[in-house]
């Protein structure tokens, strides 16, 4: 039911380049395997980028923002106006992701994929089919056309990014852990008590309310039983920024661009992307394990091992940005170390 391009095959990882990268690692002046996961990471990137010299230098960050009708049910610790206020904060340079982008030398694009903002805001790309999703506890969050528009909003953002080495997608949207928890529960066939976390900071009672709202909504939409399609789940309980990220992931993978996946919300979008188009999975690199309950379930379903686990739960793409230096150092080590032969260091017998 979504546009044809969504289902088109992504390229394959280059087994030749990946194997050559592993052979190169074995020649470097260090005990074999002693750089652990950084060795694997460099070799995986070499295969994904089809290159002898994996790179993580040019890594744009694109944030998609959206509002969520379901906040009317009292599921968030912060007022809904925060979505638009934080978009302005991103553009003004004061948010965590703004600081991180500056430190990392990454460009930062902010896309209003569906907030309540009534007019275009300075420094922000407006690309939305409507103002916020509908309250999914009462009705479908999005029509198929609106969902398709948001998928293409993601594709348009990737097209604007040129030819980066990797991409980081982030999100902002009061209520979006609720939509993500609903998507994850439906895709994984589990109760929402396993996917609904504290979000921006609701307490145990708030979490219970959130899970109840989700479980009731999934029943209302006929999604509480196995076998529902990803398309029907996304229209029923999705959000516009989540759909945009889902589309951006597929579009990036189709262009052979690896994606450094952020926390719970981006991972839920990634899981939906993999259900829509399984061939994009190879291009996902997990960055961190969020403190948000349910992230580990989604990572498990993606069979993804995050690099860091620092109790982060901010979103905005911040976890991926914080992990980016590890990829850069992995590439620098892979490309810059001397071999045993070059350095005249005796190898083991």
């Amino acid at each position: 039911m979504f546009p044809d391009w969504v289902y088109q095959q992504c390229p394959e990882i280059s087994a030749t380049h990946r194997a050559a990268a592993f052979a190169h690692q074995a020649q470097l002046t260090k005990p074999a395997g002693s750089l652990g996961r950084l060795e694997q990471l460099a070799c995986d990137l070499a295969g994904l980028q089809q290159t002898e010299k994996p790179r993580a230098a040019n890594v744009p960050i694109i944030i998609f923002a959206g509002d969520h009708g379901v906040v009317a049910q009292g599921v968030s610790a912060y007022p809904q106006e925060v979505t638009v206020a934080m978009m302005a904060n991103f553009a003004a340079g004061g948010a965590a992701i703004s600081v991180l982008a500056r430190e990392l030398g990454s460009s930062l694009e902010v896309v209003d994929a569906g907030t309540l903002a009534q007019s275009p805001m300075p420094g922000i790309v407006t690309d939305k089919p409507r103002h916020g999703s509908r309250d999914f506890s009462k009705e479908q969050a999005l029509t198929p056309d609106e969902a398709a528009f948001a998928l293409e909003c993601g594709e348009r953002a990737v097209a604007r990014a040129g030819t980066p080495d990797l991409l980081i997608f982030g999100e902002m949207g009061i209520g979006n852990t609720t939509a993500s928890a609903a998507i994850a529960a439906a895709l994984l066939g589990v109760g929402a008590e396993r996917t609904a976390g504290s979000g921006t900071g609701v307490d145990a009672e708030g979490r219970a309310l959130k899970a109840r709202v989700i479980d009731q909504a999934l029943a209302l939409h006929g999604l509480a039983k196995p076998g529902a399609s990803a398309e029907s789940i996304l229209c029923a309980v999705g959000g516009l920024e989540i759909m945009a990220i889902c589309g951006a992931i597929i579009a990036a993978a189709q262009r052979r661009i690896p994606i450094l996946i952020d926390g719970f919300i981006v991972s839920a979008a990634a899981l939906a992307a993999v259900r829509l188009n399984p061939s994009c999975r190879a291009f996902l690199v997990a960055s961190h394990r969020s403190a948000e309950q349910g992230h580990h379930l989604v990572l498990g379903a993606l069979n993804a091992q995050p690099l860091i686990d620092l109790d982060l739960r901010l979103g905005e793409g911040s976890g991926a940005a914080i992990a980016l230096p590890l990829l850069r150092l992995a590439c620098a080590l892979h490309n810059g170390m001397a071999t045993f032969g070059e350095a005249n260091v005796p190898d083991r017998a």
Copy 2:
């Protein structure tokens, strides 16, 4: 039995600056606590550095190299010549830590604290009391004077580093996981099978040999029973680069310089430093959990939580260097984010 300065009190963490840093974090435009361990890290650094703006910009890396008589017992996967060959590789820029120092903009000083090199090498500071430690399976590794010389070698290196924001110490020395495992076993009162790991890559049989050599040596030196002093343990089974790092840690802490602790060997030196002078503990920041067996025990004894866990086991200070960007980003976020008031973002009710 060591020089008086070793036992002199280190300054205290500034509780005032640390509390002010936590209060500042609560004002930043993010859900409270959502940057997890990075918030704590920035606040801890603020307290250690007695500042409102914690910094991790100027972070020199100092590598201490030493050889170990105990390699005569066949405890290492690599030949002893690798120690000196790798010192040359550090200075020539081809080793992992050379690449990392360049990427991070850190200066890299290599100190020959006790290798078998017979003459000074270009680009390397020679500061050693003898060529290698004695074989501790037969006799004391170091005399008290030699151990004291090496402690002061570490102190001299810290004095040369000026006024950095933090320091990273690394090591090179074929056989030094054996010496470190012996120190850790004696300090912790456990059998060497719990502290002897694969090092540069010995197999299960090699590990068993290593543990046997250590346990027999500890018995020979009367250290297999509780209550031995850190001083007697370090002379009996220590190594010159390990002693230098131990001295460097104490000297840095006495100058109010936090130390980003690397893997198993540096952590064993840090544990010894804390036993000699408990007041240096506050200045230790753990970087990573090494794949080397025994590191988790030493970290536990230091009550230290590492930031990353990526199956690294290279040494050279590489794990600390790889974690440094996390500290830098923690500082940038702490110092650079807007407050709710500045950004006009509504806070939670």
